[in-house]
C-alpha cells in the first residue's frame, strides 16, 4: 500500500511518543495508580462501551498512556464515550481507577487542545448563567406553585463565576471549539 505525504505526516503525529505523559496523567486527582496496571483486561471485560467501539478499550488506553502515546489518545473522540458507570473501578484487582483516568484524559484534552463536545459548552454556559444545567422555562417554574411544589432555589451567579475563573474554565468556555457527536 502506498501512503500519501499527508497520511505519512499523520502517522508521525499519532505515533509520537511523550515519555513525560504518564507522569502528567498520574499527577491528576484519581489517576495516581496508573502505573499499577498490569494489563489483565478486567476493566475492558466489564465495560459496557468497549464492544461498540474498537478504540474505546480501557486496558489498551492504560497501556497507551504508559507508552506515552499522547497525541494518538487525545486526538481520538472515543474518549467521550465513557458513561461513568464505574464498573472498571470496582473490578480492577490492582485498585486502578480507570474511569478517573479517562476523566483525566478528557480534562487534559479540553485544557490543552481547547476542544469539547458541544453539549458540554451548553451545559457549562447554562450553569454559569442560572446554576442549573438546563435553561428551565419561567412558565415551568411558575407552574410549580400551582402544583403545590416549593419555588426552586436560585443560584448565586457571582460566586459561580468566581469558581469558573478559579478553575480556568471561563477562558476555555470562550475559546474552545466544539464537535457535535462521536460515532
Amino acid at each position: 500500500m502506498v501512503y500519501s505525504m499527508s497520511q505519512k505526516e499523520e502517522f508521525k503525529i499519532v505515533n509520537r511518543v511523550d515519555p513525560a505523559f504518564k507522569r502528567a496523567v498520574s499527577s491528576m486527582h484519581g489517576a495516581e495508580k496508573l502505573s499499577l496496571c498490569f494489563q489483565c483486561g478486567t476493566c475492558t471485560a466489564g465495560c459496557p462501551i468497549s464492544r461498540f467501539n474498537d478504540f474505546y478499550n480501557p486496558r489498551k488506553i492504560a497501556r497507551m498512556i504508559q507508552l506515552g502515546l499522547k497525541d494518538r489518545l487525545l486526538s481520538n473522540d472515543a474518549l467521550w464515550l465513557c458513561t461513568t458507570c464505574y464498573t472498571c473501578i470496582d473490578n480492577c484487582p490492582q485498585g486502578v481507577e480507570m474511569a478517573y483516568i479517562i476523566r483525566a484524559l478528557r480534562n487534559i484534552t479540553v485544557e490543552e487542545r481547547k476542544v469539547m463536545p458541544a453539549i458540554y459548552r451548553q451545559i457549562l454556559s447554562n450553569i454559569l448563567k442560572t446554576g442549573y444545567v438546563y435553561a428551565i422555562p419561567e412558565l415551568r417554574i411558575k407552574r410549580r406553585i400551582q402544583r403545590g411544589l416549593p419555588t426552586l432555589p436560585k443560584s448565586d451567579s457571582k460566586q459561580i463565576a468566581k469558581l469558573f475563573d478559579a478553575a480556568q474554565v471561563s477562558d476555555i468556555l470562550e475559546k474552545a471549539e466544539t464537535f457535535d457527536r462521536v460515532d
Binding site: I49, T83, I127, Y134, A166
Partner: protein, 291 residues
C-alpha cells in the same frame, strides 16, 4: 422524625416532576421533614468530564451550604448523590485535596468542614424509616405483581463510596420493592448502565443499551421496571417509544419511580403520585393494583 435538606438537582425540575411529587408525598407520609436549599448550583456531575476541579468546587459549594444549616442532604438523583457524596467523602479523607478546594472556596467566603452526610432517597427509606415501618404503612399489598428493578450505577459504584460491600444500592431497592408486597424478579445484566450520560454525544449506544435492558426485563416476565434516578427513568420511559420505532419492537413496559409504586401500595391515588405523567401508560397494571 428526621429532617433533610432536599437537593433536587437539574433534571428533575426540568422534566421529571412526577418523581419529585411522588417522593415528597411518601416522605411526608413517613414524617421526614424536607427543607429547601437556600441557594443552589449544579451538583458538578455533568462538569466532571470537562474539569474535575470545577466539578469538585460546585459540589463543595452545596456541601458548605448544608454545613451552614447543620443539615444532611437528601438527593433523589443518582448523579447528584454520586457527585455530592463522593466529593464529601474525598474532602473529608484527603487533606491535600481539601486544602486545595478550600483555598478557592475562601474566595467566595466558604470553607468545607466535613460535618454533614449525603444520602439518596433509597438510603433514607432504608435507614431512617426502615423496612418494618414501611410494611406497616402498606394498605394495598401489591400481591401478584411482578416487577424488576434498575437501581442505576451511581447507587452502587464505586462501591468504596456508594455501597461498601458491592451491590448495596441494588439490594436496598429490591428490599424496598418487596416491602410493598410485589415480587422483585431477577433478570440478565441487572447492574448494567442505562447509557444516558453519553446521549449528548452518541445516541446509538445508549439506545441499544436501553433496548437490551428492556428486553431482559420483559424476558423475566416483569410487568414494570422500577427506577430511582431521573437519568435512568428518561432512558427507559421517555425514550421507550423511540427504541420501539428504531428497532421495530413492541415493548410497552411501564417504568415507575419507586415512590410511585410505594405510594400505590400505601393507598395513595394515581393522580397524587403524578402517574399520568409517565410516557408509557401503566393502565393495565393500575387496573390490577387498584382492583
Amino acid at each position: 422524625m428526621a429532617e433533610y435538606l432536599i437537593f433536587l438537582g437539574c433534571v428533575i425540575p426540568y422534566r421529571l416532576q412526577s418523581y419529585e411529587i411522588s417522593a415528597r408525598r411518601i416522605l411526608e407520609a413517613f414524617d421526614i421533614k424536607l427543607v429547601e436549599m437556600p441557594s443552589f448550583n449544579c451538583c458538578g456531575f455533568p462538569v466532571d468530564p470537562i474539569n474535575h476541579e470545577l466539578a469538585s468546587l460546585l459540589a463543595a459549594r452545596n456541601l458548605c451550604l448544608a454545613e451552614d444549616l447543620e443539615m444532611n442532604i437528601l438527593t433523589l438523583c443518582n448523579g447528584c448523590f454520586s457527585s455530592l457524596n463522593k466529593t464529601n467523602r474525598m474532602l473529608k479523607e484527603d487533606r491535600g485535596f481539601r486544602e486545595k478546594i478550600n483555598k478557592t472556596l475562601g474566595e467566595i467566603g466558604m470553607e468545607f468542614k466535613g460535618s454533614i452526610e449525603v444520602k439518596h432517597l433509597v438510603h433514607v427509606l432504608i435507614e431512617d424509616v426502615g423496612i418494618e415501618e414501611i410494611k406497616k404503612a402498606i394498605k394495598k399489598p401489591l400481591r401478584n405483581i411482578q416487577v424488576a428493578q434498575h437501581s442505576g450505577c451511581h447507587l452502587m459504584r464505586p462501591s468504596k463510596y456508594a455501597s461498601p460491600g458491592g451491590r448495596g444500592g441494588m439490594e436496598m431497592l429490591k428490599a424496598l420493592i418487596r416491602a410493598t408486597g410485589a415480587e422483585c424478579l431477577e433478570y440478565e445484566d441487572e447492574d448494567e448502565c442505562c447509557g444516558n450520560p453519553i446521549i449528548g454525544v452518541n445516541e446509538e449506544i445508549p439506545l441499544q443499551l436501553a433496548r437490551e435492558k428492556l428486553e431482559h426485563v420483559r424476558a423475566a416476565g416483569a410487568q414494570a421496571l422500577i427506577t430511582v434516578c431521573p437519568f435512568c427513568h428518561i432512558m427507559y420511559d421517555l425514550n421507550q417509544s423511540r427504541i420501539e420505532r428504531k428497532f421495530g419492537l413492541r415493548l410497552g413496559i411501564p417504568v415507575f419511580h419507586y415512590p410511585q409504586l410505594l405510594g400505590l401500595a400505601m393507598g395513595l391515588q394515581p393522580d397524587e403520585l403524578a402517574l399520568n405523567e409517565l410516557r408509557v401508560k401503566p393502565d393495565g397494571l393500575l387496573k390490577r393494583i387498584m382492583g
